[in-house]
Symmetry: C2
Subunit: 334 residues, 2 copies
């Protein structure tokens, strides 16, 4: 370290130290195309000696690229931190980006789309992944046509947008069919929120399965994918209907449902059979283990990330829709 000043060294100083021009220094630092071995070595050396790191702001200004992408979680932070799916998304995206030069910027949006949209529009990041969008957070419009964006979880307004999602309809149908095959005839559901497509789609799958079996589908209550809301929804469901099985739209919510059942002295699976959705750790902690549908959140995230990376390279790529399959994970709750 021969740094004199406290300031970070600039490209100018590197060039001077190496005895070349700024342009040559710049080339040597970025890929080294069209640079003589001599010059390259001199620059490398100077960089080392000075401990030079390119100023990201200057570079971003010149290249119009920030080298970072955003992961947007449109949920209040306490919900986010209690949701295995969203945490899985963070982990998946973070992991997929780790092998890259790109930096992850986490945006927990607390439902202030204005600020969020502005942030993305302003060009703070080169692109974004948006997890589990809600109807009503009008992210789609605000962002259309700006930087590349990939959704995890199908957005309501999907034309022109890229997304990856798990096949919720099929998954919910398969889950419900398990209950049908087990001989249950009064099958209710604690559904997800209606302002999210995951909630809607799993509800539809439940309906489809019951229709196909000629069973009624009037026993349904919605909750917002949280434990307490699911508990309350289950209470309402049990008050109004005499069910012998429940398809719960997420394992997290199944915890709440179990609490309601326990309080009434209803046994699982004897009195009420249960099937959940996600298999992200919660299911296997329950007694008996919850029968559920897998949710390949890491694959989803990796896929979304690579789709985004592709669009960073070539923004003209057409929108792409990916639906990943889910499979039954048997437990003892049916």
């Amino acid at each position: 370290m021969s740094t004199i000043s406290g300031r970070a060294p600039t490209l100018d100083e590197v060039a001077r130290e190496a005895g070349v021009s700024r342009s040559t220094a710049s080339r040597a630092i970025n890929g080294g195309k069209r640079v003589s071995p001599t010059a390259q070595a001199a620059v490398d050396d100077a960089v080392q000696r000075l401990g030079f790191t390119p100023n990201p702001a200057a570079r971003a200004l010149a290249t119009q690229q920030t080298g970072s992408v955003a992961l947007v979680i449109p949920e209040p932070d306490d919900r986010f931190l209690n949701d295995p799916f969203l945490l899985g998304v963070l982990r998946g995206v973070s992991g997929a980006l780790a092998v890259t030069e790109l930096q992850l910027v986490l945006l927990i949006s607390n439902r202030t789309p204005g600020r969020l949209v502005r942030y993305l529009q302003a060009g703070h990041v080169d692109g974004a992944i948006i997890a589990s969008p809600h109807r009503g957070d009008h992210l789609e419009e605000g962002l259309r046509g700006s930087r590349p964006i990939v959704f995890i979880g199908r957005p309501f307004e999907m034309n022109g947008l890229s997304f990856v999602d798990v096949d919720n309809v099929t998954g919910a149908r398969l889950a419900t069919e398990v209950l049908v095959r087990a001989g249950r005839t009064r099958i209710g559901t604690v559904a997800g929120p209606t302002d999210m497509t995951a909630g809607q789609d799993r509800f539809i799958g439940w309906q489809e399965a019951l229709d196909a079996a000629g069973l009624p589908h009037d026993a349904a209550e919605a909750a917002d994918f949280s434990v307490p809301a699911a508990e309350a929804a289950a209470e309402r469901l049990l008050d109004a209907h005499d069910v012998d099985a429940i398809f719960v739209a997420s394992d997290t919510m199944a915890v709440g449902v179990r609490r309601a059942l326990d309080r009434r002295g209803l046994r699982v699976p004897d009195d009420v059979a249960l099937v959940g959705f996600d298999d992200l750790g919660t299911a296997e902690l329950m007694h008996p283990r919850l029968t559920t549908m897998s949710n390949p959140v890491l694959d989803l995230s990796a896929r979304a990330t690579s789709m985004l990376l592709a669009r960073l390279t070539d923004p003209s790529l057409p929108p792409e829709h990916v639906l990943l399959p889910t499979r039954l994970v048997p437990g003892g709750s049916v």
Copy 2:
């Protein structure tokens, strides 16, 4: 919107549209000091009409400030996502920053300090909060004297550095004293990792309490704050010692300890009494509820954030060390 081009509008265009100079437009946009009402209105109008947002890279280059701060989690991502304390830190910092103009950049460092230090040195962010530093990730040196930094959890090398921490030594002592007062005489510990001060300090507190009571402190095994590691540590402990109580350095680890006890048919608290540390949700889910020490992670995070903010404003502030108290949260495990 009268935008013609697809490009984002620049300050230049705003100025032209408003019929003023760039500087006036700039002033109007930043605070509006020394700007006539007329000019202010004209600029506001133009901004509105054009949908102008300042280019962050350009602004950062000119002001030498990025408007963002980093939260550094020096853990592999899967550990981070299973650690209630670290998730609490994320939540606390995120919440404290929400009322600010500052953007949070989450850095999960996966133990590649090189890349991390470079990122911070390069000036991507104006400052950083580093959670639970480990001995060996030489973050302290690499960062000293650059941007303002506040640690959550005392760093090993603390001179010249600011940090906030919970009073681990006192907390561990109080926890162990509960066991002593309950009449236990063979009190072991499943300690935290020795490469973290939290692990060390809680171990020291346990020792102090036993010393004061005239009891031996040879029954100790360390683990890394994860469930499986704690389970293994408990196995070793139980193999080698006949204990009637264990102070476990975190509630998460207490889950692992419980598994080991259960497997041997040892009852809590009858055969072995347990006290944990953290009270971040896990303790109340255990049966019987785990007796533990509170860990005010949200306060810690808020405090760290405000310390950082203060140093962003005035970098010359002297280092500050804050130790927050912990208190006993009674359960049924003693």
